[in-house]
Amino acid sequence: MAANSSSGGLAAARVHIALVGCNHRTAPVEFRERVAFTPQQALAAADELRRQGTLEEAVVLSTCNRSELYGVPADSGPDAAQAMENFFTSFHKIPRAELNGRLYRWTGTDAVRHLFRVAAGLDSMMLGEAEILGQLRTAYSQALDHGATGPVLNRAFQGALEVGKRIRSETEVGARPMSVGLAGVKLAERVFGNLDGHSALILGAGAVAEQVVEHLRNRGIGNLRVANRSFDRAADLARRMGGDPIAWDELESVIGLPDIIVTSVSSTGPVLTRALLERAISARGGRPVFVVDLGVPRNVTPDSTGLYNLYLYNIDDLGEIVEQNKKAREQEIPRAEAIIDDHVAKFESWRAAIEASSIVDDLRDRFHKHRELLIREKLSEMPDVSPEERARIAHITEELIERVLEHPAQKLRHGRGLRGRLAGIEALRHLFGLDEGKD
């Protein structure tokens, strides 16, 4: 089949994507860890599938929540997805009996839609999470650099990255913090703006406090001090977090320095009293202090709440904010789906244009072959026809083919409605038997 220039070297006439995989919804972690691909394995699998002739293009997306194999099958029949599934199970040595509906298969538009939903974070465990977009970009870039992709998957994955970016910038799906740690940091940003150049004091060391510190570090917090009742533990934490350890006795002297205080001390009595915080604010020239109290029982005395320029949040406050954000994100799903619909339609339109071009080329090839056969056959019975007349007959029949093809080609390329164009392409395939191989 003739390659089409607009398809960027597309070899196949049919633009068809198939997907086989599993995610956190269909498979437990015990199964997912068995079917995970390392980056090397992902490239090796893509190579193998193309070498076998099962796929012409392949990308493997493997994260902690999903393992998916995207491909453009050499044969667009229903066997292609089955072949991909067989490869998936044999690659990871999973007996078929263990599959038990854990793998899903999508083809055509459904596969493209699934890819776009994954990029948008709508298929993630935490709705709208941002990490998946980076993971998808990495998986695609590695496959692209390795030469495992082609025009179809390039188009699909570039579209997916665009969808992911658009949804995060135009909807609230990925906007609001969904973890207690991030909520605390985002709230601090509502007070101080950019945290770059600001300072923080970490009291105690809980798992959530470490999350907060990680987010603070990601946002370029300038100075980080760590205090714990055990100085060794403070020193250890400070080393891991990239901060300075502070002896517990020195707390009083440094309490006025930080803009943000994160406290998660296991203590029966309060760690930060109203009087201490009052002195801290005063020592700061009245500049606001943002306190995240992650301790249970609370580390900050409740009467501190009304202190001027003190922004105090405990674990329940942050939990409530996260719950509000979760609901808000869920309300944004229809808007995100609308963006996905828009991009799926664009991909389908591109597919229709590619297929329209290729099917017209196929028809032209077929008509030319028939014409040559017919001319040879008929003119062999007419020896009186001169070479000039033969050339003229050839020219006229060639023009006839072009004229016959002109109208359907126009209709297929610029006809009204994507669905109508795709139906026209399918009808032509069926009527002229273009799926049955070349004669």
């Binding site: 910038s169 135009e170 909807t171 609230e172 906007a175 609001r176 985002k186 709230l187 940003e189 509502r190 007070v191 101080f192 703006g193 950019n194 604010i281 005063s282 020239g285 009245g286 500049r287 606001p288 001027y308 320029n309 922004y311 949040y313 406050d317 409530e320 904010i321 509000q324 808000a328």
Partner: protein, 271 residues
């Protein structure tokens, strides 16, 4: 012609408001730039509308309600756009452009659109005096809007009921800095405006009318905003209290612009 340009600038400000409001709901870089561009376009159109009026009366349009309020809106737009560029913040734009739109709609509904007869010639010094004072009022109005947003944001932070727009609002620190910048602009303009007014009056009559209620209230405004700038950095006033003070100061500005102009002063009667 000036009327059409006025209506056109109102339409462009309205379009700008919709863009700013949209980015407040869901951020969009291109739409944000479009909002700023539309605001700039509205300012340019309004400039030509004011220019048409100025050509007719041969001075800055200050001697009728439509002219002075229109000039005020134009200077408010300019001041905000300057602050937006300086602080790199577009999230306040929705509030400022809404204020502009409401102001201009009321202006078109309430004030006479007819161009008044030219006032007696008073010279460039007087024109600068009026323009600078109007600019100061516009800057103070902007600091009022920013302080109100500050207070609303602070209230939300303490109430823990955080709506969609909350996460898009500028940080308290940014609002504080923007309000202060706006007050600096206002104070500089008002000081220069007062000096020019006094010079003009001295040139005209050889004396200074320091006892006129308008002058007294204007000096009180200077003192009030000076106090705001000082207190907004102090231990006990920094933050919400300073924002409240800024809001209160603007009430004095409104009092000066309306009640004092209407009933107390011997001059400065534009209404």
């Amino acid at each position: 012609m000036a009327h059409y340009l006025g209506y056109l600038s109102l339409a462009v400000y309205l379009a700008s408001f919709f863009c700013y409001a949209r980015i407040l709901y869901a951020p969009h870089a291109l739409l944000g730039r479009l909002a700023s561009a539309l605001l700039a376009g509205g300012i340019v159109l309004q400039y030509f509308a004011l220019l048409e009026r100025s050509r007719w009366i041969h001075t800055v349009p200050y001697n009728d309600l439509f002219g002075s309020m229109s000039l005020f809106a134009w200077l408010l737009g300019i001041t905000y756009l300057g602050l937006e560029v300086f602080h790199g913040q577009r999230t306040v734009g929705a509030f400022v452009t809404l204020l502009l739109v409401i102001w201009l709609v009321l202006l078109h509904l309430l004030a006479s659109l007819e161009v008044p007869p030219p006032p007696p010639a008073r010279g460039a010094l007087f024109a600068f005096h009026v323009t600078l004072n109007t600019w100061a009022y516009a800057a103070f109005a902007l600091s009022f809007v920013l302080s109100m947003i500050y207070l609303a944001q602070d209230r939300l932070l303490h109430s823990r009921r955080l709506g969609a727009a909350f996460w898009r609002f500028p940080a308290l620190d940014v609002l504080d800095r923007m309000a202060r910048s706006s007050v600096y602009v206002g104070l500089a303009a008002l000081t220069a405006g007062v000096v020019m007014g006094l010079l003009w009056q001295h040139r005209l009559s050889g004396s200074y009318s320091l006892g006129d209620p308008k002058v007294i209230v204007t000096l009180a405004i200077l003192a009030a905003y000076g106090a705001y700038l000082r207190l907004s950095r102090s231990v006990t006033w920094r933050g919400v209290r300073a924002a409240r003070l800024c809001v209160c100061n603007f009430i004095i500005v409104l009092f000066s612009y309306t009640i004092v102009n209407l009933y107390f002063t011997r001059f400065h009667r534009f209404l």
